[in-house]
Amino acid sequence: MSTIDTAHSMAAPTAATWSPSIKRLAQTAALCGLGLVFISLIGMPVKLNSRALIEPILSRGYASLAWVPVMFGYVVTKQVVLEGMVAQKRGASDVAEGAIVGAGGGLLLGILGILIDNFDLRDPLLNWSPQLLEFITFGNGLGFGVMIWVVIGGLSGAAGAGLHLLPATIRRFIMVIVVAVVGISFLETAATDLLQGLRLEFVSDGIYSKTSGLTIKGSVITGAIAAVALYGSQQLQQRRLTRLSQAPPAASGFTPGAAILNSFGDARSRLKVGLGILALILLPMVLGGIMNELLANVGLFLLLALGLNIVVGLAGILDLGYVAFFAVGGYTAAVLTSPNSPWLTPELPWFVAIFIVVVVAAIVGLLIGAPVIRMRGDYLAIVTLGFGEIIRLLFLSDWLSPMFGGAQGITNIPGVQVAGLANVKGTDPRAVFYLVMAFCAFAIYVSWRLEGSRLGRAWMAIREDESVAEAMGINTVNAKLMAFVTGAILASLSGAIFAAKVGSIFPSSFEILVSVIILVIVIVGGMGRIAGVMVGAAVLIGVLGGPSQPGLLQELAEYKLLIYGALLVWMMLKRPEGLLPNVRRSRELHGDELTQDAWIKSQVAAQDEIDSDGAGSEVPS
């Protein structure tokens, strides 16, 4: 399973932590059951049940439960193989354990059915409903319901556990196929949209059923394609690895700036980047309205996230009120361009207004940043959050409504007049997407240029260690203000496009939630890394949806924030560096350096003790 690094072999072998026990099985089964009951009680299965995952054999409602015993079955039989230990032999007992856990969970769900039948708790618990009971019993009475869930749970649990029995490659194939089928089924809207644009409607007609979900044939085809794709990519990778192993190790970039610089330097990557850009330019053409709209929203949030990435990711300033600048940009653009705006009559063309937007955002950024920037991390977070709220409340207030329309907002914001080409506004999502893309490209360019510049290096130094940065001659206050203002400007651009896209602007679009979601994008993607932020925006806004923007998983819209929350916690627990982390370890990492690395840690730990106490303790460190 795990190859043992020679550098680690000094660590003494310790006992494997896995041991089957009744108690552990019972606990896991209970957790599994609680998971099932919980999902049932928040109403997911009943709500999703009307739509099929695979027509007619599996509804999305049942799918929303089935994964739970599979996962628990997998987890309960998972071995933690410590270095130097040999993995235990797998066998039928694993499967049995998985089955027990799954069946236990299923039993609990069955018991929920019995409870629903006998007690009426619908008053507080909305989903304690006859519909849920019917869902659990398949309309066939309680006895059947309990039995069938024990069986379903047991089988799913056994399947989850059984995954361990398979060789890793086959397991990977199974997982890829399952993910592909579920994904393609859920992404019906997007896939249909894309296939239509590519004039491949026959494909979507072929794999999707008329009502919802994939057909059985469609699932088989999807699975087969996924398997072939996986096989192909494995082969390619294999070939590449052999090529790499023959070639001398090339220098590889570490920080985003360097990575991009390097990748530009390399002709192959240049080609790749070029192709990517070309694809992006062509993409909107083949996409329909839904996907263009969706990607335009992704782009708006990407623009915001790129700005916040400079503030949080590069300079390390935790800004929880970032939405303020989004609002400032939107309102400034609205006031300057809309004939309906109650204040300032000149109806400037958007492209003129945008320069004023930038100036206003920079000024507001300075005004907010100047007092805030000297505060400590946590305090800074709450103060910026406060500023975000203050700005929203001001836009909302009756006091300033002669300027900003108060609750009535500003409507009839004209689109963006692109000289002679088009009037970009919400009814034409393709044009909006192009506009957003242009600005994202600008923001990426700005981020990239700044990252590799003197200023960018200063930001990173401040993020790494503020007092050392100061000692290295960086005026940290100025540099942080610059980051704050740059972030503000990027957010205001997003706001200005947003105003033109939606055509109207209301204070309710600028709640705290927006700030938090932008932060989540930056963090989930990988702080301080442009590509990470792009992935974060695509995954979160594109797939799950933004605060007021639907994502691909429309059906889950009600559970969007719940999933956001769970995802955030899970990410922090399992992968705090984000989907695409900022820095990667070098493959050429030398054994001796690894050793030294561990040693320095202990040294620093010991040193910190000395530093943090006694006479030296008052030194700001």
Binding site: R199, L282, V286, E293, S509, S548
Partner: protein
Amino acid sequence: MIRNQKRLGVIGIALSLTLVAAACGGDDDSANVDATTAPTTQPAAEPAAEPAAEHLGDGSLGVVTVAAGEQIQIRSLEAITGDVAFLGVPNDRATILAVADYGQINGFDVTTGTSLDDLCSAEGGQAAAQTIVSDEQVVGVIGTSCSGAATAAGPLISESGGVMLSGSNTSPALTSDLIGNAGDNYNVGYYRTAHNDLFQGAAMADFVFNELGFTTAAAIHDGDPYTQGLAQAFATAFEELGGTVTAFTGVGKDDTDMVPVLTEVAAGSPEALFFPIFQPAGDFIAAQAPGIAGLENTQLLAADGLLVDGFLQIPESEGMYFSGPDVRFGENVNQSTGKTAAEVLAAYQSEYGEPPSAPFWGHSYDATTLLLDAVKAASWVEDGSLMIDRAGIRESLNSTSGYSGLIGTLSCDDFGDCGSQKITIIKHDSSADIEASKANVVFEFAP
């Protein structure tokens, strides 16, 4: 991780190659794409020149074909998550109930698909509308919940040749000022069964000034465009009548402690306090106002936002007046489904386990049946497929007159206002008998 990235790279290249290939595949691509944004691709293939059966519509907006075994697609676009879900969820549910009650059209089932969420925001409405117009099979939309969402969704639906019927938008900007001038945000193809808000403020002002004989009043809104607009309309009308508005202010939707705002209001000792807001903030104002020095004898008034069972049930709401659409649904019968308002309400309660949290469920129910009637009128069966003429739907809706719905008699004007414009004011006497209060109309106002 490195391995994964390589794989991503491989997939990325494959994807971009496909795209390039696709893009180079045909220069007529863009033409095709343009066609999709136009109402429909159908008319070219099947000119509607020779209708197979009698139906409304001239085919000018395209014809939707529902193949045998497929369902007629309509959509529900309401605020079903977030703060305003209390308003959107009953609308959405009523739509689903109406579709079920209505049954088949010419042997074809109707489906609302996945309910869409307008998130009570312009951007949410826009994105959802985009989803709707991208599916050419969708013949009509019931929604939105919030006027702000309709502002952004309207142009999209309208340009695509579709129709949108709202059960709860009330902003005058979406239709007209009712004397023939289109609103700022009016779009063809937009209809509503909810009343136009133009008169509610005036009705309340008239009632307070003339009926109750008060000359001082205050108004509180909650920062929502709807409540702010209504409060503003009230204040303007009241001053025009010769009254004095002692305070005009707002609270936050999440506020609980109303003492500061009530103190602000109390300073002017108004005889009447109009707060056309929603729950829960409305509960707090009703509960806390009597305890404020200077407001002990102030008459409390609210609007349809609080004309819900949850609010009427609290004792503090006793003695209040409520303005709003006529909600004496009682035994009104929807002519298309034959259900009475009481029956629909009962079905709602049993299906969803709670009473509707806002009063516009009846409006949404009627909007849905209006749409389905229009679909029926504009459709015919041809070779086993159902053909629906989009222009026919609009035609049918435009000609709606004297339609009997749960909320009363519906007739559509030139700007899509179909609901009754009559505003009633009721007096709420007892929290124990809500139905009696709902019927206790003390003032009617019709333009």
